[in-house]
């Protein structure tokens, strides 16, 4: 028994029509004018001109020359901090030059050695906490968190209306003999995810743990 007796020509027409529709879904480039975006809270890098003199066509430090065009990264000038948050580093933490993505960079030094403290900001939407914790764990040879481990992995530090998710991780980097410790704190603030990370040899970082937690307590939103 034939279940359906649709003429082949009708079937072919419907199929061709549907396939044509399916193939015509390429989205075009959109063009529009929009008023200047002024989303608070402002950050140093929200202003794409920050730290750069475009009128003079100045390149950022260390930037390769580009024929006919000057391209500037969003970084603040070395030594500056974000406009969105401020912090006060302990006196014995030497400030280091900022890279393109660091908002803060310090070298805590003590008798046990030297550590590295970095501060980054990324979009909160694409930086979920767990993925970041797994990334940090992976950097020192630890396995990804299980659901049970994740539930207890984070200690919350509340300070001046800000809520940090902090972790203390100990592992070994591939190819490195001594143990590496990571003290990390993640702060979600609006659309921004702030990452504060102190890493280095276990003993050097362990000696700075109290200073690191005190340092987090100095983090404040910039007054409007």
């Amino acid at each position: 028994m034939t279940l359906l007796r649709v003429p082949p020509s009708v079937g072919a027409t419907i199929a061709a029509f549907a396939l044509t529709l399916a193939g015509c879904r390429e989205q075009p480039v959109r063009t529009y004018n929009v008023a200047k975006d002024t989303p608070p809270p402002p950050t140093a890098s929200a202003d794409p001109h920050a730290g750069h003199d475009h009128a003079a066509g100045e390149l950022p430090p260390g930037h390769p020359p580009i024929g006919g065009a000057a391209m500037a990264g969003p970084t603040a000038a070395p030594g500056s901090v974000s406009d969105s948050l401020t912090w006060a580093a302990p006196d014995h933490w030497a400030a280091k030059p900022l890279g393109a993505m660091r908002r803060g960079s310090f070298a805590p030094k003590n008798a046990a050695g030297e550590a590295d403290c970095s501060i980054f900001v990324f979009p909160a939407s694409s930086n979920p906490l767990r993925a970041n914790l797994d990334r940090w764990r992976g950097q020192i040879g630890l396995a990804r968190l299980t659901d049970e481990q994740f539930a207890t992995a984070v200690t919350t530090l509340d300070s001046d209306g800000l809520s940090f998710a902090t972790v203390d991780l100990l592992g070994k980097q591939p190819g490195v003999d001594q143990a590496t410790r990571v003290l990390g704190a993640v702060l979600y603030r609006g659309e921004e995810a702030w990452f504060f990370k102190l890493t280095g040899p276990d003993a050097a970082v362990a000696a700075e743990k109290a200073s690191f937690l005190d340092f987090l307590r100095t983090v404040r939103p910039t007054a409007p």
Partner: protein
């Protein structure tokens, strides 16, 4: 009616076709539900339901072939089938009023779903206390934005959907002095600063952050609580030659700027923006708890709504089950962050949102009428038989 035309209508109105389409839709729902484990709900909706065909990629090749009818084809088939049946069998008889009403309700439901699939957009608006925004960011759509930010008052913006970046064809930006040539596109990638990954291979990027950021392509994630980080390498090509290569990624929060031909351009890969002709300011977010407990009682956002033309300026309170409907958009209280100082609103634009309600009322009323008329007829016949 010409005989060949009637013949086609009769075949399209066939009850067998109805059954075949219903079975196909059942299979589609089952397969799509099972595939949610691999793809997550959004990708499944696009692949199975909001498509004419479900495409399957041949393993080891870039060739995709249609292997099953998609939601649009099956739904469209059912709609055509029902319309043809109505066209053939419609007779204006009060006894059939309920049936007709029910069928028209179903037709409306199918059309409503089609409109929802084609026109509805879901996005989010994240507002810190005191912040003002006139746009929302799409939940699942990303775009590459090139903005001419030279003028002090407004920006000229070109946005390129990521599907275009996945192809290696040059992308012309109308009115822009350079074009984009996608060199690489990754649906997901891990990014790190050079300082964090000193041993990573050199980045091919020469502009903007250039070698200061390294990336590693990663397998796309479909977990509902994770997000992909689309990343692309694009060459900017001016008429006189290439300007250089730029790394753009959702993980690079701020636009990278380019000075060229006396103008400044900001380039970023971001969540697709949907602009309103009004702005919302978060006046206050409240997270009320039952006294003496941590149990939430209420989440609400007090927002100030100002239209672009200045005619409207009012405050509105958005809370659970009490969204703000304005300008074709509906704003629901969705979440909060940052110790209750940031509110997240879900923004829905669905021009056909009323259709399912109307369709269900029509169908329900139709069934009630039909069974009512049948019952009355049955009771009348029984009374006549007994007397």
């Amino acid at each position: 009616m010409p005989a060949p035309f009637r013949s086609v209508i009769e075949r399209l109105a066939s009850l067998r076709l109805t059954v075949v389409l219903l079975v196909l839709s059942l299979v589609l729902v089952v397969v799509a539900t099972l595939d949610q484990v691999n793809l997550g709900i959004w990708a499944v909706q696009e692949k199975y339901f909001r498509s004419f065909f479900v495409f399957q990629q041949l393993s080891g090749s870039g060739i995709a072939f249609p292997f099953f009818p998609g939601g649009y084809l099956i739904g469209g088939g059912l709609l055509l089938n029902l319309l043809c049946a109505q066209f053939l069998r419609f007779t204006l008889n009060w006894r059939n009023v309920g049936l007709h009403l029910t069928h028209f309700g179903i037709i409306l439901l199918l059309i409503g779903e089609l409109l929802t699939g084609l026109l509805s957009v879901e996005s989010h608006l994240t507002l810190d206390t005191g912040a003002t925004r006139n746009y929302a960011e799409a939940s699942s759509s990303r775009e590459l934005a090139v903005a001419d930010i030279t003028d002090p008052d407004s920006d000229r913006v070109w946005t390129v959907p990521l599907t275009r970046l996945a192809k290696s064809e040059p992308i012309e930006l109308p009115g822009c002095p350079f074009k984009l040539v996608p060199l690489q596109f990754h649906q997901n990638a891990h990014l790190a600063s050079r300082a964090e990954a000193p041993n990573a291979p050199a980045s091919p990027a020469t502009l903007g952050l250039a070698g200061q950021v390294v990336f590693q392509p990663a397998a796309p994630t479909y977990r509902p609580n994770e997000d992909n980080t689309p990343t692309t390498l694009i060459e900017l090509r001016a008429p006189e030659g290439p300007l250089g290569t730029l790394l753009a990624s959702l993980a690079i929060a701020q636009p990278q700027t380019l000075d060229y031909a006396g103008r400044t351009y900001a380039i970023s890969l971001r969540r697709a923006r949907i602009y309103f002709d009004f702005a919302l300011t978060l006046v206050e977010f409240r997270h009320d708890k039952y006294p003496g407990t941590e149990i939430p009682r209420n989440f609400s956002s007090q927002v100030r709504l100002r239209s672009a033309d200045g005619k409207e300026d009012r405050e509105v309170r958005i809370f659970m089950n009490n969204p703000l409907r304005h300008g074709g958009y509906t704003f629901y209280q969705s979440g909060f962050q940052n110790n209750d100082r940031t509110s997240i609103l879900q923004v829905m634009r669905n021009p056909g949102w009323l259709i399912p309600y109307i369709a269900c009322v029509m169908s329900g009323l139709g069934l009630l009428l039909h069974f009512g008329i049948t019952l009355v007829g049955f009771l009348a016949r029984r009374r006549a038989a007994t007397t």
